[in-house]
């Protein structure tokens, strides 16, 4: 595919192109209607909202107030009176759709207004529910009667910080628990003892940053591990050692680089090169995404031959954003027409949306503990 792309570029210096129009079509359609093949995501509908909205944002697609309101109204139906959000109206509350819903609402606060998108979130109930999900050792269950792993921790901390909830007591032991998930490889597993994995590593690092406890983990070994997850042939990232490349890891692994960049700056560990660019081959990642990960009919994918879905569309675009928006300048390969917007790597949400939500929630009174 790379050979073909090189050949193509000889005739057309504007290629490879990000096929924006196709992707927008796919995204806007999905925001309203999904075929029955999506029954398996019936308990993940806030995720669909977040993946689609975040993708549209990265592509700078303006959204109408009307569609913003419609999504807000839907997420209201997903809020549970016992606190948190469910995967669909009438289901039990679960940390993953809660995280997705809050991220979607943050984006919606820039489409409608912060009041319309956020004022109705029941922060008191949310806090009480998080308390019920917390474990003594600092970990969190994903839902009542559910599994414990590092996703729960990340989702809990992410929503607590965004919604301006009291974090000191709730997460007192959490950093220690997270650190116990760092493996001999340098990445983090989903639970102490488990293999280092891109998705879980993102959860670990982002959470430590949110709790301002980044120094408790071994950042040097983490950097070595994540740098080695970039595939020398494909240019994309793998999730674990000796596994295959997948477009979604462009974000899960890629996000560690801008985050570590900030941490290194704080520790006066910057060098000439790290000040200029993220410490991975951002051109190679962009090439993988633009040449190999675009579906012909719109949407992005894991790797050639795989079907498209909204999850991969979102995380491929998020990864593209990180690769393009280095510490100093925008580095879109080929042309600026391929440039997507910047995002906040800790939340996986565009910068203005995160700030709008943080500002709004921080203006609200503290919740009782």
């Amino acid at each position: 595919m790379y050979a073909k792309a090189k050949e193509e570029r000889r005739h057309n210096p504007e290629s490879p192109l990000l096929h924006r129009v196709h992707h927008l079509d796919y995204l806007l359609k999905g925001l309203r209607f999904l075929p029955d093949s999506f029954e398996g995501l019936d308990a993940s509908r806030p995720w669909l909202c977040y993946w689609i909205l975040q993708s549209l944002k990265l592509l700078s697609e303006p959204l109408s107030h009307r569609i913003g309101t419609d999504v807000v109204e839907f997420l209201k139906l997903c809020q549970c009176k016992e606190g948190g959000f469910a995967g669909g109206p009438g289901q039990d509350a679960h940390l993953a759709p809660t995280y997705a819903a809050m991220n979607a609402l943050a984006i919606l606060s820039t489409v409608t207004t912060p009041e319309e998108a956020l004022a109705w979130v029941d922060r008191t109930a949310l806090y009480q529910w998080l308390k019920r999900l917390s474990c003594e050792d600092g970990a969190f269950r994903l839902h009542e009667g559910g599994e414990v792993d590092i996703r729960g921790v990340y989702c809990a901390v992410s929503v607590a910080v965004m919604a301006n909830l009291p974090v000191d007591c709730l997460f007192a032991n959490t950093p220690t628990w997270i650190v116990s998930c760092q493996t001999y490889e340098g990445g983090f597993g989903g639970y102490p003892g488990l293999e280092a994995h891109g998705g879980y590593t993102f959860c670990a690092l982002a959470t430590l940053v949110l709790l301002q406890k980044e120094d408790e983990c071994d950042q040097d070994r983490l950097l070595r591990w994540v740098a080695f997850r970039q595939m020398k042939v494909e240019g994309g990232f793998q999730g674990r050692t000796n596994k295959l490349v997948d477009g979604c890891y462009s974000f899960w692994q890629g996000a560690s680089f801008p985050i570590l960049h900030c941490l290194m700056a704080q520790r006066s560990q910057q060098t000439a090169i790290s000040k200029q660019c993220w410490l991975f081959d951002s051109e190679a990642l962009q090439e993988y995404l633009v040449i190999c990960c675009q579906h012909g009919k719109g949407g992005l994918i894991d790797k050639p031959g795989k079907p498209r879905d909204y999850y991969h569309t979102c995380y491929c675009l998020c990864g593209l954003s990180i690769a393009q928006n280095g510490p100093k300048r925008n580095d879109a390969i080929v042309c600026d027409a391929n440039l997507v917007e910047s995002l906040n790597p800790v939340w996986g949400v565009s910068i203005d949306a995160v700030n709008m939500a943080l500002d709004y929630f921080s203006s609200l009174p503290l919740v009782e503990q």
């Binding site: 999905g30 309203r32 209607f33 999904l34 075929p35 029955d36 999506f38 029954e39 398996g40 995501l41 019936d42 308990a43 509908r45 909202c49 569609i67 419609d70 109204e73 839907f74 139906l77 469910a86 995967g87 109206p89 009438g90 289901q91 039990d92 994903l142 839902h143 009542e144 009667g145 559910g146 599994e147 493996t183 001999y184 490889e185 340098g186 989903g190 639970y191 003892g193 488990l194 293999e195 994995h197 950097l223 070595r224 740098a227 080695f228 595939m231 674990r240 050692t241 000796n242 596994k243 910057q270 060098t271 000439a272 090169i273 790290s274 993220w278 410490l279 991975f280 081959d281 190679a284």
Partner: protein, 340 residues
């Protein structure tokens, strides 16, 4: 009405079933202007409407249990259904072995689903019977030896029920089958870590010296094991990270291992980034010991490290060029006090 096989029975609308006449199905709220609206099949829509109805009345009955099976098979990711099913199993005091059989089938159909594995874990915890689990997980590995949920379940079983015996051999078998199976290497570390923890616990009881000797035996064993695999392919990352991890676990220095340093020298000809990285790490240990700031010895070691980083950046591992350049500069600043 329920099947003992894990297949959906031929569909008969709930509306037409005599035993369901008393229930009014509860439609899902969608609001006035739906978003991310899924075009459910009739069967899906109806099954979940009946599920919502019994869930709302908290009905704990056989027919509700059967309904949860249907609903779970239609969408195994619907965690609310599984939680309710567990409540029903308890209330009706059902045979857990039968549930494990059902789970075995559904896990095979949906091996990367979180809910089915959690359900299995809960059933085992409730029955306190792990006797099927090692075989079950070993079986699942024949299809996918890297299934993360499966490894998680296996680690939990071993830890919870103390089933450590034979696990080291299990990892050796898997590594023999595929030396690139990083999950198997991770499991080996999991076992060795436990071995060390046990030794240290006994040592704390006053057997001090025995502990150090036994640790040395284990380290030697693992060096030999890793060396064997490295010899087959020095470009395989797994044994390298593994053996470095074991050194750290034992608080031993890489550069003091004659075996490993000799191995690296021998393997430089392969141009494997992992050989060079091992040498960099070993030499960095030395730098750390010598202390910082410009003695001749420090400078000479530093030069070697920088040279290795350059070879990696420019020839052997160019995809990580920025990382290797960063590392070289970082170490130079640290140990030579170079202005940055």
């Amino acid at each position: 009405m329920s099947d003992s096989e894990s297949e959906l029975s031929p569909y008969v609308s709930y509306r037409e079933r005599a035993e369901w006449q008393d229930i009014v199905p509860l439609e899902q709220e969608e609001g006035l202007a739906p978003v991310v609206q899924i075009a459910y099949s009739d069967r899906f829509r109806e099954t979940f409407s009946y599920f919502r109805a019994v869930f709302a009345k908290d009905e704990l009955s056989e027919r509700a249990l059967d309904l949860t099976r249907e609903a779970a098979m239609l969408n195994p990711a619907n965690y609310s259904v599984w939680v309710y099913r567990r409540k029903l199993l308890k209330a009706l005091d059902r045979d857990l072995l039968e549930e494990q059989n059902f789970l075995a089938d559904i896990i095979e159909m949906h091996p990367k689903n979180y809910q089915v594995w959690q359900h299995r874990k809960e059933i085992v915890e409730w029955s306190q019977d792990p006797s099927l689990e090692l075989e079950f997980t070993a079986n699942m590995f024949t299809d996918d030896a890297k299934n993360y949920h499966c490894w998680q379940h296996r680690q939990w079983i071993i830890t919870r029920f103390g089933l450590w015996d034979g696990e080291l051999e299990f990892t050796a078998k898997l590594i023999e089958k595929d030396r690139r199976n990083n999950s198997a290497w991770n499991q080996r570390y999991f076992v060795v870590n436990h071995e060390i923890e046990q030794l240290e616990a006994t040592a704390a009881g006053g057997a001090g010296d025995a502990d150090e000797t036994q640790k040395a035996v284990i380290l030697h064993r693992e060096i030999e094991f890793s060396k064997k695999q490295i010899a087959k392919d020095s470009h395989n990352e797994s044994p390298w990270s593994y053996i470095k991890g074991v050194f750290r676990l034992m608080k031993q220095k890489l550069h003091l291992s004659v075996t490993m340093m000799a191995l690296c020298d021998e393997l430089m000809k392969d141009k494997s980034p992992h050989v060079a990285a091992f040498l960099i790490d070993a030499k960095e240990e030395l730098l750390g010991q010598q202390g910082e700031g410009g003695s001749e010895q420090v400078n000479s070691i530093l030069e070697e490290v920088v040279r290795l980083c350059e070879i990696l950046a420019d020839e052997w591992d160019t995809i990580r060029k920025r990382y290797w350049n960063y590392l070289a500069e970082l170490l130079q600043v640290k140990y030579q006090g170079l202005p940055d």
